[in-house]
Symmetry: D2
């Protein structure tokens, strides 16, 4: 694990940009598969990345994958893809053939698809206050060997989806899917994340704190601001 | 996980040699850190490796680490190091400065030492019939976040050490120590390993089958003979 | 440059196999592009590789490229591809979609194609007694920046093609095409290669000894038998 | 070659920083060897890098090497090291044990030292208006196989050293030394570099334009501003 503490949200976002760019500017056309996150944490990252990406001819070999999806009633795109389109794919003008959609229709074969596509080179994600990553809410991870799966209402803590009507089900990469990516980047900001950050980064590795599993990954980068890092002894 | 099924023990050993060589012939002098296994499984591998290594000037940058050690009463070297010296270090004439000893005196700082040495590039190990790797016997792994540790008599299943007087204690890399290596290679042979191989490679990821954790590693190679693979649907 | 001296032709071929395998067993499905040589030197290598390849499910992501071609009157395949089919593609049952043909019809766009395919991961070649590699005969290299090109009768030393009727023209990767591969492997055997090996490996870097340019490559492996190495001070 | 065109000097410097950081934030402690440039072009890069480096605990494994040196009469440090100390090592508080000095006393064994240190992971340099890199002025490169060497007054074009009294001699990595680094980065800015940039990047590979040799490198990144790129057809 490499721990990078930055002054604030802005410098965290810039440092995340630097790490994402390192995967995108490879100097050759070897295919690169990146799995990226929606949510609030990466908003500034996507603004910076959009400036970099738009009109830049260097990225034709860089493919993007969403790692979870919550369907929206009567809409074709789910919550995650909708966010990614709004924050990044649309303003950056990412060509459609570089965007790989995970949704409630294709999730069953997704681990196989990822393997056939050459595996993920990098996955960037945030940390939930319950220790979740992607859609692996605390309480929904039976063991770390779970792959891409559908989680139904009975399984997840109803309190989680405050912002919107609680969905009947959603799909998400499992812990095994994520761990099999070659490089994991986690971005964390804000004092309300300090306690769970301490647990996830330095506590026991247990399905109760899903993100604790990344302590086992041989190439794991954590970029967090000082507030989120305030409880760490590093 | 890459699964390589070979005809028999001899071809398994040759394939293991090929993978170990891939780490040793790097073409430059960048330091390479390899952690290697004792026990019965790698005997033929070490014969082949010794032929390759002895007198070969290409390997001055290749460092070796043992990953567990069982002390022997009244002896300076433990069971593991004694085996490695007999099977490989002595016949291959590996220079002492390339051999890094883990023992009951220095285990507490060993994860820190590994990090300071640049981390492990590769670790090759066998699989126990109880699903163990290194000294992580089934029943001794509380959670996968354990690092290098001492295991005392009260903790491990006494039945395990049939070959020798049961030791009071031994030291071993923990699951986290091993998972943090950049490449894991497991070699398995014989029909008596078929059942546990199936569990470890395709069963649930659980501390009860310690080696199941490697399903989560992004760079994991399994080399096994047909007998060991006989129960797999691959 | 990494220099590996082996006892004889058989051990040279086995060592070459080891290095080729290191590129093929990548443990994931990331596309791998290998450019391989025809001629006499690799005959035994292809026997060994065929044993390894045939029926092995691990290599669906490994693509092959020939690096030169001499057309044959009234035949669809040229000398090089014909050799590769006979020595490797046919006996190993390499699927057609993994074989990328360079010929006198498509050479003009070949450097562009290589780039679009993600670049070459490895190129393995022999050394001519005149210092040539691929079809870059001594006397045909004006400067090292040359890419894939056609060489016509007026340009090459007529004496070279003893074995067959001298062709009107042939096509070949240029020095720049080869140097842009990520890993170069050269195999050399026999005392008749000793003098040119010394020049190519340790003499001045000059278009007069085309293979001398590889001294400049950051990842260059030379595997040679003792006879070929007999004039080296290594 | 990967070509990255940026708007201006400031964005060129930021892009260079991103690429240098990609080598420094490796997430483990594996030794990283970087060779860095003095001169005017990287001034802003060093300001940005200093901000990043100072007090940051992530870089204990990152070693720095100067690649040329011009001795100064009666001074212990030469022109290059003096510049690097002033622009980067001092303000960033780089520990002395991470700084490897090339000077007129130790140049003879420097290629050997680089190899023993594990080779250079990255070298960043500027481009001279005569096509030079490091101290390889046009007219001083007999062939691209030259290693680290001393250049004396008789050999170099006296007109070059306008800024200071012409030195009797200086030392520099040769083309081979530089080409053997795993990643090359060149930064170029300003309209006065447009003509030579075109030659170096797309012209014939010839010792008369020393930097043209990098067209042969498998991992070469060029970061240039629009003015320097104004004559390119890209």
């Amino acid at each position: 694990m490499q721990l990078i503490i930055t002054k604030d949200y802005e410098t965290m976002s810039q440092m995340a940009l630097t790490h994402v760019q390192a995967h995108m500017y490879t100097g050759d056309n070897r295919r690169v598969n990146l799995s990226i996150t929606a949510g609030k944490t990466p908003e500034r990252l996507y603004q910076l990345l959009t400036e970099e990406y738009k009109g830049n001819p260097c990225f034709k070999h860089v493919h993007f994958y969403n790692f979870d999806e919550i369907p929206r009633e009567g809409e074709e795109t789910g919550v995650t893809m909708n966010d990614l389109i709004r924050m990044f794919f649309d303003p950056a003008e990412v060509p459609g053939e570089l965007i790989h959609v995970l949704d409630t229709k294709n999730w069953k074969d997704y681990d196989k698809k990822l393997k056939e596509d050459g595996g993920l080179d990098m996955l960037i994600m945030g940390l939930g206050t319950d220790g979740h990553f992607c859609g692996n809410l605390a309480g929904t991870v039976e063991h770390f060997g779970m792959e891409t799966r559908m989680v139904t209402k009975e399984k997840y803590p109803i309190s989680y989806f405050e912002r919107e009507t609680s969905p009947d089900h959603y799909v998400t990469f499992g812990p095994k899917t994520v761990m099999n990516a070659r490089h994991l980047i986690m971005i964390i900001n804000g004092s309300h994340k300090a306690e769970i950050a301490k647990k996830a980064l330095f506590g026991p590795v247990t399905p109760e704190v899903p993100a604790s599993v990344f302590q086992l990954h041989p190439n794991y980068t954590v970029i967090m601001d000082e507030e989120a890092a305030s409880l760490l002894d590093y």
